[in-house]
Subunit: 272 residues, 2 copies
């Protein structure tokens, strides 16, 4: 069975050290490249950092789609013959930038998505996207992209699954929390559950590195169509996760001899 | 803080041994009663058994709402001063019975729900329900009931949460499967995730006991509004789970200073 190799780059991001952040990104992708991945996934806001003080600071880090971050994705996609997906702070026509992610293949930008569910103080800094999460045709299959908190809404993952997504990529910055001893963060249970519910592969690319006092889960994970981890969950350290996925499995929604995960839905019963 | 004590009765059900099944139900509820629970939850089809050969056999075990199983729930609710919820095979006017669950308090039937997502061979035996999962007012708060596979659809749990459910009870019969070593069954991740997504308490009352060659997970669980287990997951053995829940926590959907789990949804983006 031909499989798709996905590499997740989880490294330390620091808004106050852009050069160091970029250095760690490059070290992570160099490590990933040793596995010859077909898909490389970076975190949300993977070059800028996340903990913006205000709109002005976010604007100062905002880039157009032809700016340095997406240009880097393009170069990496050519150099490593891989689809590259990651988050960046996207300049807008308005007062605030978008929290965006790009999907790049063979040096070309296939799609840019703007986060539609903003988390906490993001609401004070970013403009909110108003377009659904995209599903794009790539050389390995149908890939959907959404960003962090977006992927905590089961209907977001459901909507891309119904549009044919086989692989759902979620560049993320998961702020740390305190699960009970021995428990994985609830974010991880969600990634697993939504994979299983929709029989899609889900990938979260999280980050590490204390940033202006904020810590992060560092819980990157690759889930198979049954909701089980194929790689990760990572445990709060810099790491490259590598997983070989048979994306054709996501085309088949059969969950028993008489059940289909998507066809069994009864949307008219959910509206009340 | 006044809390609601929920007891989950996980015992061995055997379609070929109704008397033994009833005996084990009584032993389980007697054990539960020692904790003076406010709510007692039994599995799906908790007196009849599950592995019906055909429609005729299911019809032979079907009962009206005033039949022995719901009558037992009524007696137990009076005897133990508890809300009693469990599944039974409900006689219908048509050719096939329903896979139903009743919510009983103070000797009275508050609601009967008919399973709307039938699993595998249930499709050959049961009539499918066409009404949304109910949310009923009880002395402890707003309780929703759904049955097994129903609760694997995130939008089912979402729909009752939006109608004010604080406690979602899912009488279940989870057929066993084979999670990777060290992993909980994906069904458990779903129960956790959907609790967290909607900030409701979710309760699965599963069963044990090989029945006509079919084994069961026996993975009963009580999840808090953050998706973490408060009791269970049970590990495939007969057990009574007891959990004290502050149901008021489910009234507050705040997940950060600027986020609300339900208000943050963007349904128009999920339709595509």
């Amino acid at each position: 069975v031909p499989t798709t190799r996905v590499a997740v780059c989880q490294y330390a991001i620091d808004i106050d050290d852009p050069a160091g952040t970029l250095e760690r990104l490059h070290a992570s992708v160099a490590e990933a490249a040793e596995s010859n991945p077909d898909v490389i996934v970076f975190p949300e806001l993977c070059t800028s950092g996340y903990v913006f003080r205000d709109i002005a600071e976010a604007q100062s880090r905002a880039e157009p789609v032809d700016g340095p971050t997406v240009q880097l994705f393009r170069e990496l996609s050519l150099k490593h013959h891989a689809i590259v997906v990651g988050g960046f702070c996207e300049r807008s026509d308005g007062e605030r930038p978008f929290n965006s992610a790009a999907v790049v293949e063979n040096g070309e930008v296939l799609v840019v998505y703007r986060k539609t569910h903003l988390w906490d103080t993001e609401k004070r800094v970013f403009a909110v996207g108003d377009e659904p999460a995209p599903v794009v045709t790539t050389s390995v299959g149908q890939i959907a992209v959404m960003i962090c908190y977006d992927a905590e809404f089961p209907e977001m993952v459901g909507s891309v699954a119904r549009r044919g997504a086989q692989l759902v990529l979620a560049p993320s910055n998961w702020p740390s929390n305190s699960p009970p001893p021995g428990e994985r963060a609830a974010e991880i249970a969600k990634a697993q559950a939504f994979a299983a519910v929709n029989r899609v592969f889900t990938v979260v690319a999280d980050r590490v590195g204390t940033e202006r006092g904020v810590d992060w889960i560092g819980g990157s994970i690759v889930c198979d169509v049954e909701g089980y981890p194929v790689a990760g969950p990572a445990e709060g350290k810099p790491v490259v996760l590598v997983a070989d996925l048979d994306l054709d499995r996501a085309l088949l929604k059969t969950v028993s001899a008489n059940n289909d995960a998507l066809a069994d839905r009864r949307p008219n019963l959910y509206e009340t």
